[in-house]
Symmetry: C2
Subunit: 318 residues, 2 copies
């Protein structure tokens, strides 16, 4: 059973000054107050901490042992408390980042490695999942940041956006594609709304928001009751499913760029400009960011604007 902690503070001063009167003066209290607190501490611990001589206190063995426990703590606290409000002067500690699998595997380690070259005291804990569990992680405080797709007309895809703060990083084009064989068999150049809504679709999004957004963007109509023939748990798997000819799906342009050029995957081109979303850095809005978090965020915002990084995401898709 732990003793009263404030009495430990009183004990520290008595021991350090070897005087109840001196301790009382230092603590701006009366001598009897200090005398009584010491006695109560001794009663709690059931052992004398000092032998009382005339005008003199001699620590007992128990008193000495207690002081060895208390002194380091009080000294350290006195040194550190004045600085508790100050941010650390250099980024350090652990950052927990979540990202989608493909972004996580391909690009995020590069960013983290660069960041650590500047700030070697920072370590990372990375987690690659889809957006929804990542956002849950941020909301629950299990992640510091998540990288997720956010549509320009916010509020539709990112639920509960009022609890997150969002920093757009990278623009990403989303295109409707299918395999060459599926196109020849099912599309045949007919890119009309009426033809497309009757086809099979695959998605990596439980509520197939991306598909709905795509139709809204390109046709200004809501596509109801799309025939979702498959829901997958990752964008990677989605692209595989598309390539296998299982149906139409909305994919990130840069992720299928090679296959488009090889003609294995066919984009469904519409006159309007392609739909765009931003890969964004999401953080809990109400949480006061640490220096480390702030520095990482700034690093990512700057880092993703570099020409070589932008190249990764830019393709001349019609």
């Amino acid at each position: 059973m732990l003793p009263d902690f404030n009495r430990l503070k009183v004990f520290y001063h008595i021991y350090a000054l070897n005087s109840i009167v001196a301790a009382a003066n230092r603590l701006h209290l009366s001598q009897p107050a200090i005398s009584q607190q010491l006695q109560k501490l001794e009663a709690e611990l059931k052992i004398p901490l000092f032998t009382r001589l005339h005008k003199k206190l001699v620590p007992t063995a128990a008193g000495e042992r207690l002081f060895t426990l208390v002194e380091p703590f009080v000294d350290k606290l006195q040194n550190e408390i004045p600085y508790i409000r100050q941010p650390m002067d250099r980024p350090s500690g652990l950052l927990r980042i979540g990202a989608p699998r493909e972004f996580g595997k391909e690009y995020l380690p590069k960013f983290c490695s660069s960041f650590r070259q500047q700030y070697p005291d920072v370590t990372f804990n990375l987690r690659f999942e889809e957006s929804v569990p990542l956002l849950d992680g941020v909301r629950d405080g299990a992640l510091d940041y998540a990288l997720v797709d956010v549509f320009l007309n916010q509020g539709e895809f990112l639920d509960n956006s009022n609890i997150f703060s969002v920093d757009p990083l990278i623009k990403e084009e989303l295109i409707l594609v299918c395999s060459q064989s599926y196109y020849k068999k099912e599309i045949c150049g007919d890119h009309s709304f009426r033809n497309l809504v009757k086809k099979d679709f695959i998605t990596d999004d439980d509520e197939h928001n991306v598909l709905i957004q795509w139709f809204k963007h390109h046709f200004r109509k809501t596509a109801e009751n799309l025939n979702i023939v498959m829901t997958l748990d990752s964008h990677e798997a989605l692209i595989s499913g598309i390539k296998l000819g299982m149906g139409l799906g909305v994919a990130s342009a840069h992720l299928v760029w090679q296959e488009v050029q090889q003609g294995k995957v066919i984009p469904i081109a519409i006159a309007r400009e392609n739909m765009v979303c931003m890969i964004s850095l999401v953080q809990l809005q109400d949480k006061v960011p640490t220096l480390t978090e702030k520095t990482f965020r700034d690093f990512m915002i700057v880092g993703t604007q570099k020409a070589e990084v932008l190249e990764w995401f830019q393709c001349a898709v019609p």
Copy 2:
């Protein structure tokens, strides 16, 4: 300015359990009590320690920093407090011993060295002075033990004996001596009280208690107004003074044993048995002795009864 220490304890439990309700349960208090104490701590420190989410607390940077300060202390205290009343299981630490110069130089280091072979964690701080300042040191708590001469009829020489506890160690004979030249000139075989009280005396005792005791012991009379021609500050110097023929003095028999045998120093032999005092180990009575102190005391009591040690102090003085 240090915060309220009991609030640091509350903070520790909240942080460890990441819950105000759970901390309240653990501390057997109500939830509002804990909530309010945390708020008061944050007010003291002028910084939030947690970001409040619904049913969730996320530590701020300041909260994390404070926990790194508090956690080691609380953990250590919880581990150690149950044992605060237990003596240490092995003698260790510093012992501060005072002894008279000659005993200190010749014998005490031998004892300490032996003791340290058994208990290597014990260190010594030795101080060689006369009895009075040594007793002051014990009384003031500056010394743990003092080795001083104590007469068998206690209470006369050892002032304030009710505050000291005394362990007699070694019997020591005290004899009245003078130089051979002084004996031939002044004594001439006349060892009567009347002759002796008229002579010159030297002493290492400010109140010349030893001389008074010697006359009391041998003649059953109080020797008043002895002619003290010199007061010295050590027994060593006293013996030197005696050898120089400055007068009579009471000396420890074993310290002048060689000179007696050489005939340089002459003992004033009286029919009665020689006066005896005990070299005793003196400690503050009201102070609870540590294990180390107790062990040293037992060691000295046993060690001074050994045949080889007794030899140092035994001489066939008439």
